[in-house]
Amino acid sequence: MFKLIADTLLSQVRTLWLVFIKLFQKKDTVEYPDRKPYMFPRWRGRIILSRDPDGEERCVACNLCAVACPVDCIALQKGEMDDGRWYPEFFRINFSRCIMCGFCEEACPTNAIQLTPDFEMAEYVRQDMVWEKEDLLINGTGKYHDYNFYRVAGKKIEGKDKGEALNEAPPIDVKSLMP
């Protein structure tokens, strides 16, 4: 009988006391719009397209990001400049579908597409969630400051022939390799 009372009645009283002292304890709420949370630099948030140190677009329209995207929210079209560089004619990300997984960033061979710590992207009109290239492009280099794809890659463009890239040996003329 006494054990029953202790288990039922007293445990209720204990519950009441434990809940009551929560009045004086620190609250878990973060008052968000007044107090911004610290966003870690590697946070996977809003996607941007970066430029190389010379100010050119890094994206070479290889479509790897669009292939890697699990929800197919990236669409782009390849274009080619007169000097042989590739670039996206349009580059469209549908942020209403994007799940911020970061696979596009991992797939990108030129560090063009990057995820940033910004997450405040709510819109009233759903169509506004579709971002075009001019919305995505930023003026800086993003997380990788010195990388320039065309300077290190073996691709031949106007003003840079095969073998002239950084750390690249001149191509071997296979026809000269006679025994």
């Binding site: 519950t15 009441l16 009045l23 609250k27 709420t29």
Partner: protein, 318 residues
């Protein structure tokens, strides 16, 4: 205009303060619940959320006041009015201070109990006229719960009545000058507290409106201000039960002289309101059959024993 029992100023004061307190309780409850759940609660409107009630009222007044086509119109409209008026009528006999009150009735305790019983009609009519299965279940539960908990709510009060020798609430308060009835009538107090929670069907005994089981119970089909009347009536009921506990067991307006009587009454009553909100934050809801068997098999015998022992002590001391 002088402040005495039954004067127009006194009546207006009681009516206005009770309704405003009940409306403010919407904010206070949400705020306190927030604190007890490690949240902050609504703190955006006004100073620390004090104007939240205004926002709530604007919202509830601008909502569509819809009567379902399948409902029984007359009783559907009448039901929220009944509960609102009976809980407000109950305040007629509450002695707030020596000079504040509506009537000085010789049957105060009985009047409050009778009005609480009439409240069951509102809940039943509201549920039945909605023609909705959840509302029907809710009203059935409400009727059974209110009727069974009224039984020993009345019996638990009889100890106080026997000690005072009067049903008059003012005489009950004045009889506590030597000591509050919480000490001789502790068991009666606990039973009255539990029955009061069940009577105003607040958590943990909100089985008639258990959201998780039966939507909102008897007010499932209500919207707009008709829902608001049920809602505010629940808070007025909370104020009523707290005032009753204060009057019956905690000496009403009595207290040290440095504060006026009405302030003492308010402090005590608000303490119990906060306790009821704490109950809501802390205690889970029992099952329906547990509630019923707890009432009939445990609380009823205990309250009867309490009454018998009180009577025996009074007889032997004479």
């Amino acid at each position: 205009m002088n402040l005495e029992i039954g004067s127009p100023l006194s009546i207006g004061l009681v009516l206005g303060v009770v309704i405003i307190t009940a409306a403010l309780l919407i904010t206070v409850e949400r705020r306190l619940l927030g604190f007890w759940q490690e949240r902050l609660g609504p703190n955006r409107v006004g100073w620390f959320g004090s104007l939240q009630v205004v926002a709530d009222m604007i919202k509830i007044f601008t909502k569509e006041d819809w009567i379902p086509p399948f409902a029984d119109r007359f009783s559907f409209v009448v039901a929220p009015g009944i509960i609102m008026s009976v809980v407000l009528l109950s305040f007629a006999v509450i002695p707030f201070a020596p000079n504040i009150g509506v009537i000085d009735s010789n049957i105060g305790v009985l009047f409050v109990l009778a009005m609480a019983s009439l409240g069951a009609y509102s809940v039943m009519l509201g549920g039945l006229s909605s023609d909705n299965k959840y509302a029907l279940l809710g009203s059935l539960r409400a009727a059974a719960q209110m009727i069974s908990y009224e039984v020993f709510m009345g019996i638990s009060l009889l100890g106080v009545v026997a000690l005072t020798g009067s049903f008059n609430l003012r005489e009950i308060v004045e009889a506590q000058n030597d000591g509050w009835y919480i000490i001789p009538q502790f068991i009666g107090f606990v039973i009255f507290l539990i029955a009061g929670v069940a009577e105003s069907h607040r958590l943990p005994f909100d089985i008639p409106e258990a959201e998780q089981e039966i939507c909102s119970g008897y007010h499932t089909e209500y919207s707009g201000m008709k829902f608001g009347m049920f809602f505010v009536a629940e808070y007025i009921g909370l104020v009523l039960i707290s005032s009753l506990i204060t009057v019956l067991f905690f000496g009403g307006w009595l207290g040290p002289n440095f504060l006026p009587p009405i302030i003492w009454f308010s402090i005590k009553a608000f303490g119990f309101i906060a306790f009821f909100i704490l109950l809501r934050a802390a205690v889970p809801r029992p099952r329906y059959d547990q509630l019923m068997s707890y009432g009939w098999l445990f609380l009823l015998p205990v309250s009867l024993i309490n009454l018998l022992v009180t009577g025996a002590i009074i007889l032997s001391s004479q």
